[in-house]
């Protein structure tokens, strides 16, 4: 567990509560799910009351939302964005395409298992999931964070070889800069 200087249990609990109530999302608008995010954020469903708020750049964001299918080309960017985010960071897979490929199950260019390449904390099923489902997904993520279970960033760092191996298997021309990690 890499909590840096916050080894003290009480501070950890406080930190986790704060983290769970302040989720800045970086919506990686792939596929059709991107249109559900505005619905979740605006007046009717108002995700901001849970502390969920949009972030403009990966450096500021806590949650990476994969809103739909991921092609290999996009996956490359998503990995890059994920690695640019700052710990602790969480990933939400959004919609059945992110869960198992969905209707693109036999596509030559769409990945079917997101968690092989990135540590996913919460999957939200549905095609597309309604804003209620999205909110529930956020609530689940909050629960996980509060329980100290959402440690995707640590998992990714510890098992970097595993994830890298999977990523390199499908990203043929690996031109990630070496300054990345």
């Amino acid at each position: 567990m890499d909590y840096g200087i916050y080894q003290d249990k009480l501070t950890r609990i406080v930190t986790d509560i704060a983290r769970s109530h302040s989720l800045w999302i970086l919506a990686y608008g792939t596929g059709c799910g991107a249109i559900e995010v505005p619905a979740t954020m605006t007046s009717r469903y108002d995700a901001e009351r849970l502390g969920v708020r949009g972030a403009a750049t990966p450096r500021q964001a806590d949650v990476l939302m994969i809103t739909g299918y991921l092609t290999v080309k996009t996956l490359k960017r998503v990995i890059r964005v994920y690695e640019q985010m700052q710990d602790p960071k969480y990933v939400i897979g959004f919609g059945s395409c992110a869960v198992n490929g969905g209707m693109y199950w036999d596509s030559y260019n769409t990945i079917k298992q997101l968690d092989l390449y990135l540590p996913v904390d919460v999957y939200i099923s549905g095609c597309m999931p309604r804003p209620e489902a999205v909110l529930e997904g956020f609530a689940k993520l909050q629960e996980q964070i509060r329980a100290g279970e959402a440690r995707g960033a640590t998992k990714y760092k510890d098992n970097l070889d595993y994830y890298r191996g999977n990523q390199k298997k499908i990203i043929k021309n690996w031109d990630f800069p070496d300054y990345n990690w």
Partner: protein, 303 residues
Amino acid sequence: MEGILMSILGAIATFLLAFVVGMTYGGIRRKVIARVQNRYGPPIYQNFIDAFKLFSKTTAVHHGAMHLLGPAFLMVSAVVALMIIPVLRDNIWFTNLNFKGDLIFLIYIMTFGPLGMALGAGQTGNPNSAIGVTRGLSQMVGFEIPWVMALVALMIKYNTTSVVDLMNVQNEVGQWLIFQNPFAFVAAILASLGMFRYAPFNIVGAPTELASGPASENGGKFLFTMMSAGSVFAFVKLTLLVDVFFGGASNLIELVIKTFLLYMIPVMYGVVNPRYRTEQAVTYFWGWPLLFGFLAIIYSVYF
């Protein structure tokens, strides 16, 4: 020795006050925006949660020395401005540095922070940062003119550049400078719309255009520093307006009420307005605000 200790404690107390008040106002602003949009909105203390979360981020990256110094400069400038401005009337705890709030000094020290931040943003190498900075500087040239005109009108009238002296001429409600020179107040408040950088003047951050502009490479602790400095700055600006136009405040409750009412002006103006383009945001201040500035000067010279 006691004096030094007291002023150090006072300085810390001032800083905490400014931080808490600024953050809370920010939270209220988010709530107000939410209510206007018919949402429930985040809790008022949401900004504290956000700040704490940002502070507790475990990793961060930097792009070099100036990037490290940028947020630090912003914070320093906020702190120095806060140390110089008289927060409460005749209150020994909030005297801070023994300096009577020179307005020109304040104007310059308040531009230092954004400039330092601009350098930090420049070193990140992100084009959005640089674009945001150029927009911010352009806008600054815009609003600084009516703002200075309002202040010059008062300075000429009372032959002083000190905030304390201006506070001393407005001991009663009727003597408040908002009543003595309403034009100056209008010019100053219109200029402060640009100073607060809320909509329609949020061209610097512009999340959907520029990916939050100068802040786009800053996460975690950098963003925390910027956020706190922004809150302190908001408090400084409000306190300055209260000191200059509303006779200052003699206790904290009065200060909070006055600053809150003033804060609602840019907030309310912002929630109902979309964003300007840069040249619109610049030339906005050279229209009515400039006219009011001229009126203020004429009023204070001839009446």
